[in-house]
């Protein structure tokens, strides 16, 4: 707004709605702080290992349980492994689990939601399925799935790949229901709108209706639930690791680091607090981003 006020005759350059969304997003202080913290964490995880190139699995038995020092900025653990390197490696796994599981659950949720909302014949069975999944005891089932299928999957995909695949699929398969419900509601509303009627009157096939007219219009709720999905996936993964049912011991994730440090928390509380703070900060910032996005993507609030 300020650039146009100095030269009022200048025509505003065409801008997409995403610039409006960004303008509104910027007014939400919490979301902005959350975004910067999340970017910082991402940078630390992606760029950090290049600056601090100590292997997270390097065991140095002569330097066990060291406190903060120049050689080990965050100290070492009970096997003399560098905690900073392990935190960065753990963050990479935790956040990639979060992102992948979120994508899976959003894809499932969106597909089921759009199908249930658009095709009346599918609505009954798909929504019953959603209700059924909502009635499942999710945490016990997740624990079950992870324990029971750990062995065969690690055999066929390698210990790390197998567990990664298992955890991502398990989290994705148990967290799509909210998205499906929201998307279905939006699609049901959209179907009554004139532009959909117009598109249908010129004979648009269902596939193109969905891809061209329905999906772009339900993008905002999907984006919001995607952001919140990252947060809950990270929490679920770290909870599984914390219960000792996540990744294998020599494969650090934040939850695993916390779990490993709990036995010695009386002596070395920092080793518990660091991964815990990392998880909490990430989840908190992602939740704030989601909050800001929800406001920014809502055209009724935008511009106020």
């Amino acid at each position: 707004m300020t650039d146009t006020s100095s030269t009022p005759v200048k025509i505003r350059p065409p801008r997409s709605q995403w610039w409006d969304v960004w303008d509104q997003f910027k007014t939400h202080k919490g979301a902005l702080v959350g975004l910067s913290i999340f970017v910082l964490i991402l940078l630390a995880i992606i760029v950090g290992p290049f600056l601090w190139d100590m292997a997270p699995t390097f065991v140095d038995l002569r330097a066990r349980n060291k406190s903060f020092s120049m050689a080990h900025p965050l100290g070492t653990d009970q096997l003399g492994r560098d905690v900073l390197a392990r935190m960065m490696a753990g963050g990479k796994v935790s956040i990639s689990v979060g992102l992948t599981a979120m994508m899976l659950s959003i894809m499932l949720g969106t597909t089921i939601g759009v199908l249930a909302g658009y095709f009346r014949r599918l609505e009954g069975p798909l929504m019953r399925l959603t209700d059924l999944f909502l009635a499942l005891p999710l945490l016990p089932l997740l624990l079950l799935m992870v324990t029971l299928f750990r062995e065969p999957l690690s055999k066929s995909f390698g210990p790390e790949g197998g567990i990664f695949l298992l955890i991502v699929c398990a989290i994705g398969a148990t967290s799509w229901m909210q998205t499906a419900r929201i998307v279905r509601g939006e699609v049901l509303g959209l179907k009554e709108r004139e532009f959909v009627l117009a598109a249908r009157s010129i004979g648009t096939p269902a596939r193109r209706m969905i891809l061209r007219h329905v999906l772009p219009n339900v993008l905002s709720p999907i984006m919001v639930s995607a952001t919140l999905g990252i947060a809950s996936a990270i929490i679920t993964e770290s909870a599984l690791s914390f219960l000792g049912l996540g990744f294998p011991p020599d494969f650090p994730t934040w939850g695993r680091l916390l779990f490993d440090a709990v036995d010695q928390m009386q002596l070395y509380p920092w080793r518990v607090i660091l991964p815990g703070v990392a998880i909490s900060l990430t989840v908190l910032s992602v939740n704030y981003i989601g909050d800001g996005l929800r406001d920014a993507l809502d055209p009724r609030i935008r511009g106020r």
Partner: protein, 335 residues
């Protein structure tokens, strides 16, 4: 109202049957062997006999049917016997844990009180904290209190319970030594001193769970109050000259509580899920800890029964929430 109740009940039954089938098939598809812990020195023919004794030789649908019969018929009969001293259930095969060879229900009955006291109290405390916070935040929207409440509740559901628990242990059990870090379930409450001991050991687990619940419920309370505060009937009540206290605490609060009550009912079963983690942190030997132990030991009857009980709780409280909504809000009768 009666048709609504009946219809919901009729939907709940097939849901539960499908859920039990899903859990059973999941356990069935898993490659884990309940005899995996048996030493290798045991000869194969003995192992085969053990397998027969556990009933693992029959087809899955036979075992599923058997489990269904045991869960829905034999166990209630035994409960009846235990309650009224009758002997109807003698000779009937109960659901037996592979691990401890005890009836599963007996283990659950032993562990249920621990879970219920910690979890139940935590939920109660959470609700009692959340309601006033929600009311006040809505009444003074965007005040410093509201902003603080929003921030704390954001932290409340972002920080995982296992981390809050561990931090509380480090601060209050290790550094300050105010509370014990491990929950002692052998403690019998007999006199004042042991009662105080019990209270002290319950403080931390209850705080962790209560904070987590309060964070969510207070948000719902706030949103619901805000919805109602803008309604016409509030303006009318004020115009009639009612005091602010009556307007807010009687007119608005009663209407705002309707959705909140259902949210509270829906939250009860999820609490048991959250308790799995909290019990692990504070070493409370409740149902959640038993579930994890049994999963590790491939104790299928125990896992199956426990998971199914969690499922029953979810379905039951969904039903309760639905019915409560129908009772409290006459506008919403689905028939």
């Amino acid at each position: 109202m009666l048709t609504l109740t009946l219809r919901r009940l009729l939907i709940a039954i097939p849901t539960l049957i499908i859920i039990s089938l899903v859990i059973f098939l999941l356990l069935e598809a898993a490659p884990g062997d309940p005899l995996g812990e048996v030493p290798l020195t045991v000869p194969p023919e003995v192992k085969e006999k053990m397998r027969l004794a556990l009933g693992l030789d029959s087809a899955w649908y036979v075992r599923y049917g058997l489990w269904m019969k045991q869960f829905f018929w034999v166990e209630p009969v035994h409960l009846w016997d235990a309650l009224f001293g009758t002997h109807f259930g003698e000779g009937m095969q109960r659901v037996i844990s592979f691990q401890s060879r005890q009836p599963v229900m007996q283990i659950i009955a032993e562990r249920l009180p621990q879970t219920l006291t910690v979890v139940g109290l935590a939920y109660l405390v959470g609700v009692l904290i959340a309601l006033p916070i929600g009311i006040l935040s809505a009444y003074r929207q965007y005040s410093w209190f509201d902003n603080l409440g929003t921030f704390i509740s954001m932290i409340g559901f972002s920080v995982p319970t296992f981390f809050t628990g561990v931090v509380l242990i480090i601060v209050f059990a290790v550094k300050l030594q105010w509370f014990p870090s491990v929950y002692d379930t052998t403690l019998q409450v007999t006199d004042w001193a042991s009662f105080k001991m019990q209270m002290r050991q319950m403080v931390m687990p209850v705080t962790v769970l209560a904070l987590y619940n309060a964070a969510q419920i207070s948000r719902f309370m706030r949103a619901s109050m805000l919805d109602n505060l803008g309604q016409d009937y509030v303006r009318t009540a004020r115009a009639k000259g009612l005091t602010e206290k009556v307007v807010v605490l009687i007119h608005v609060l009663r209407n705002s509580l309707i959705p909140v009550v259902t949210v509270i009912a829906l939250g009860v079963p999820t609490i048991f899920g959250g308790a799995i983690i909290t019990e692990q942190v504070f070493k409370v030997n409740g149902l959640g800890q038993q579930l994890i132990l049994s999963i590790h030991a491939n104790d299928m009857p125990m896992v199956m029964t426990l998971t199914f009980i969690f499922a029953i709780l979810i379905v039951l409280f969904n039903l309760v929430a639905d019915l409560l909504y129908g009772i409290l809000d006459p506008r919403i009768r689905y028939d």
